[in-house]
């Protein structure tokens, strides 16, 4: 055990004495997280603008108030001409026209709100359900007014606009841009990618050790192959955990991100880190020099991270790409992290993700053991 710990401790010490490794493991991911996290938050602060074309009638004002319930957009009143110009020049996402004959449109079962837009942008797609929901609400209120005959439509609209229950579209809007779960996953994604770079770089030092002679020297000490292997494994595993924890804590302090239930997070992250260590050792076992390891590692890491939904949500890519992504461990890791961070903790999904990662880890280690010669 003493020999195992000595080997592990030696490599951890080497890590903290190597500026290059520190940059790759902490500075770069921190910088990426800070820049992209900052961009996400910044973009959240600039609300997309929607023009509303309306007259001064009471019901128009109340519908305007209903629309304003969605605080993710900035709602501006404008004339039809101004609204068209703004849309044309892409100063606004869209313009919503509240017709003067809205009651008649309800009766005739025609679309209530006219929308002027240049193209269906992401912002518009996020807005659409809110417009639809508002229109449905107006229709329901109209029918209620008709049945009760006791209040006027503007009164009911006012009541609806002041009611907290109107803000039903918030969830839909969040999905598209600044969902905290998506943002936290982005940080986890960066952590995974840089962990892969950092640990595959660290694991490829075995190649340097082979050339430098320390590997051979270790082999002629009384330390067994198992002790040597475990020493390296523990060192890389701890490196992975240190990197992951530092990044997660930094992102938490900078952007108040949360990481879900730690009872699930810690074992799952451990499995992901073990898988990444296996990946790094596999590359070290496949190549002859550290330069080859760097080149092959970079290609494999970047491509599999793209496929695995590390840079963007896997839901955004076509279905066939989603199927291909199942062949890379990152997609299973991201899926599991999503379950944990979002708090949904769906057991079947978590078990599936865990088993898949275990499979990948075992595969990587088998290839690594075959590749890394002890001679």
């Amino acid at each position: 055990m003493r020999r195992i710990l000595a080997i592990a401790w030696l490599h951890l010490k080497e890590l903290f004495k190597s500026p290059g490794t520190l940059v790759m493991m902490f500075i770069l991911p921190g910088l990426f997280g800070w820049i992209f996290g900052g961009i996400s938050i910044e973009s959240g602060q600039t609300k997309p603008v929607i023009d509303v074309v309306m007259n001064e009638e009471e019901h128009s004002t109340e519908i305007f108030n209903l629309l304003k319930q969605n605080e993710h957009y900035q709602w501006n009143k404008a004339t039809l001409k101004e609204a068209k110009e703004h849309v044309e020049e892409q100063d606004t996402v869209a313009a919503v026209v509240i017709p003067t004959d809205i009651q008649q449109k309800v009766v005739e079962n025609q679309p209530l709100l006219d929308v002027i837009l240049r193209s269906k942008t992401e912002d518009y797609l996020a807005l659409e359900p809110h417009l639809q929901g508002t229109a449905n609400l107006i229709i329901r209120i109209h029918h209620t007014v008709e049945e009760s005959n006791s209040t006027t439509l503007p009164d009911m609209l006012e009541a609806a606009a002041t009611s907290k229950g109107v803000a039903i579209e918030k969830q839909t809007i969040q999905k598209d841009g600044n969902n905290p779960v998506e943002m936290n996953l982005m940080f986890v994604g960066f952590a995974i990618m840089f962990m892969m770079f950092g640990l595959s770089g660290a694991a490829s030092t075995i190649l340097d050790e082979r050339i430098g002679g320390t590997w051979g020297r270790l082999m002629v000490t009384p330390a067994s192959k198992l002790q040597i292997s475990l020493g390296y494994l523990i060192a890389y595993f701890l490196m992975g955990w240190i990197q992951f924890s530092v990044l997660m804590i930094a992102m938490n302090l900078l952007f108040e991100t949360t990481w879900g239930n730690l009872t699930y997070m810690i074992p799952f992250a451990s499995l992901v880190i073990l898988c990444v260590v296996g990946f790094g050792l596999m590359i070290a076992g496949m190549v002859k020099t550290k330069q080859q390891a760097g080149a092959i590692g970079a290609v494999l890491i970047v491509s599999t991270c793209m496929l695995g939904g590390v840079y963007w949500s896997i839901d955004l890519v076509p279905e066939f790409m989603q199927k291909i992504s199942l062949a890379v461990p990152q997609s299973w890791a991201m899926s599991g992290f999503k379950e944990i961070i979002s708090g949904s903790l769906h057991p079947a999904t978590l078990i599936k993700d865990t088993l898949a990662l275990l499979g990948f880890t075992a595969g990587f280690f088998l290839i690594a053991i075959r590749g890394i010669t002890f001679k």
């Binding site: 002679g213 002629v220 001679k375």
Partner: protein, 314 residues
């Protein structure tokens, strides 16, 4: 009592036979050297003795332990100084020594004490906290040796430990090895520097093309070539004096007694002064010019040259 027994040791890499049936033994407390040019098979032999390479054939026993069957047991009693500077450059000399000490089950105060002792032996106490990367080649070589003697091994195996270092560091290393040997440590030393081998070792095995071509004390090896000196004459061309010189050296007209290679004429003779003037006349009679003449007392280089027809440094 033999501390190392090597019998019919062979090693092949694919079709290439690196070591061919090498046999020798080393007594406890002895200093033994494997001498040979680069690529002769010295390191491969050493790597098999240390348990790093499994041999293709033959057997090795160290302190009575079969290295092939129980390599980890055998490795407890040996210290290995590899040809490479096998150290962690980002760590200090002390940190390196402590790490290698731990690999031999040393720990705590005992480890600290032995590290201090070894730093003293290798003369680096005042640089103990400095990173190895800041050391000169000679200092690194000294730490390289230090890492192998922490556990006070019975046998110290050194594979060309002085390659590429300055004369001062070389002297320090040789003195250290001599001292360790005088204190009772068995030394197995490979080198292609005959001066080192002559200074350090009681017995010498000469290895070439994977074969042990001679083995014995320095005196025995000298005697094997008749204790003859070498007359080395540098020529401006290789000429065609071979037969005439052979007839001059009556009774010694053996092919290996006269070598002409790279404009160097080498003649082996017991009394070089007696034939020198006649030899020079013979060589220059067809107009060949002599650029230098040197008489070398019998040494390991002479033995190697006589046995193989090649210089050790070729």
């Amino acid at each position: 009592m033999n501390i190392l027994n090597v019998q019919e040791l062979g090693k092949s890499f694919g079709k290439f036979e690196a070591v061919k049936g090498v046999s020798f033994s080393v007594e406890k407390g002895e200093s033994f050297s494997l001498l040979g040019p680069n690529g002769a098979g010295k390191s491969t032999t050493i790597n098999m003795i240390t348990g790093l390479y499994p041999p293709t054939s033959g057997s090795i026993q160290i302190t009575g332990v079969d290295v092939i069957k129980n390599p980890k047991q055998a490795q407890k009693s040996i210290g290995v100084v590899p040809q490479e500077i096998a150290l962690y450059e980002t760590l200090s000399a002390r940190e390196n020594l402590k790490f290698w000490g731990r690999m031999y089950d040393l720990s705590g105060n005992a480890l600290e004490k032995v590290v201090d002792e070894v730093l003293e032996i290798i003369g680096l106490t005042d640089r103990a906290k400095d990173k190895v990367s800041t050391f000169s080649g000679g200092m690194k070589r000294r730490v390289n040796i230090g890492a192998a003697i922490l556990h006070k091994p019975e046998v110290l195996i050194m594979d060309e430990p002085t390659v590429g270092i300055d004369p001062q560091s070389r002297n320090h290393i040789l003195e250290t090895v001599k001292r360790l040997n005088n204190e009772g440590m068995t030394i197995i030393y490979t080198s292609h520097y005959m001066e080192e081998v002559e200074y350090l070792c009681e017995r010498i095995g000469i290895i070439d093309h994977g074969e042990l071509i001679a083995c014995g004390t320095l005196r025995e090896l000298r005697e094997s070539i008749g204790d003859r000196s070498r007359i080395i004459i540098s020529l401006d061309n290789e000429g065609s004096h071979h037969l005439e010189i052979s007839s001059l050296l009556e009774g010694l007209a053996v092919e290996k007694d006269i070598l002409i290679k790279d404009k160097l004429l080498t003649v082996f003779h017991k009394e070089p002064q007696a034939i020198l003037s006649e030899l020079i006349q013979l060589v220059t009679k067809d107009g060949t010019k002599i650029t230098s003449v040197e008489i070398v007392e019998p040494n390991l280089e002479s033995v190697f040259l006589h046995l193989t027809g090649r210089s050790l440094r070729n």
